[in-house]
Symmetry: C2
């Protein structure tokens, strides 16, 4: 068996296995032994690399959320309309789901939407995303792209809420999945939040797919 000097990264294998197990069974019905088995590793090794079962989930969440926050920051740094910024953020999150649905499922279901369990610990981190989105809205209002009257905090909540709700719909098979659906969702999220549902004379309807 070809293996490099430091051997295969067992820590990484445990994290990857944990994603699969947590996605399949849910965090709190997963036993540490399930994760060890899935990783093909002895029970005790999990505790060589992690202090606790919780810490595994913390690690998964923080790794990914940092990437998200950084992506939002980069989007915001570009000189493009706010609507396009929101589209880029929705895209990033949707594509994250497309690329690794199990990981996103775990993060959303077990952390983000579980605010009284793990979310509690990471509330600050989660809120960072809202704050960044609110800043985008606030600037767009100041510059006249978005109308005033809707508080930026609120708009951020609604935007993030829509994104999370759509992912949740995919996760629990309430919505069809697929490349077409992913692209359509990005467009519809932005179109709903920015354009609204109201019919406004002279404003064209959204183009189909």
């Amino acid at each position: 068996m070809a293996r490099s000097q430091p051997a295969v990264d067992k820590r990484r294998m445990i994290l990857d296995a944990a994603v699969r197990v947590f996605a399949r069974q849910g965090f709190h019905t997963s036993r540490v032994s399930d994760v060890a088995d899935e990783a093909g590793v002895a029970y005790g090794l999990v505790y060589h690399y992690f202090d606790s079962k919780d810490q595994i989930l913390d690690t998964l969440f923080l790794e990914r959320w940092d990437i998200l926050l950084q992506a939002i920051g980069e989007v915001d740094a570009q000189a493009i309309p706010a609507r396009e910024k929101l589209y880029a953020i929705a895209s990033f999150i949707v594509d994250s789901y497309r690329h690794d649905p199990d990981l996103m499922k775990v993060i959303i279901v077990e952390v983000t939407r579980a605010a009284n369990t793990f979310g509690r610990t990471h509330l600050q981190q989660i809120q960072n995303a809202y704050v960044q989105i609110a800043a985008i809205v606030e600037r767009a209002q100041r510059e006249g792209e978005f109308r005033a009257g809707i508080t930026p905090d609120f708009a951020a909540l609604a935007f993030y809420g829509a994104v999370e709700q759509v992912l949740t719909g995919w996760i629990f098979s309430l919505l069809p999945t697929g490349d077409r659906e992913y692209e359509q969702a990005k467009a519809l999220i932005v179109e709903t939040i920015c354009g609204g549902l109201d019919r406004v004379d002279g404003r064209p309807a959204v183009a189909g797919s």
Copy 2:
């Protein structure tokens, strides 16, 4: 001690105690003995009235969700614009929170947002709400009040997502609470989802409080 023939309703006392305990500690860190103690009742009596700890939560959820579904149905039966229907639904949910924050916290945090635990069992029931909201949107589109192009399912998701996200904000103190805030939230949810964030010439900004 004055007590009527059938004695005080111990079953109800257990349910009410459960709401307080689950809201305070979260469902899965609450012990059945915590609920019994809070209700001032012996441990075993809980199992006289309920088959399991889970069934207590199921009961709380179903009781309340039925009321919500019925309220949505009644709203939809009225001959008023869709925008007002959505406002009435948002009002109902927000007022439910105002009236009994602990109960709504438990329902949202432990059931609605916990789709892989309890939500799984009640997915159908939860989805009923989406379906009813989508029907409102669909009709409004057919009648020209809402523009076409945004699928009703999607609009329902975004609307419900915004409401749930706001409640979550209150529950975890990310948003200020209070009568003013509740009224403002109702208006802003509807204004965001129906009116959108975009500035549209000739459309007035939202009035303040």
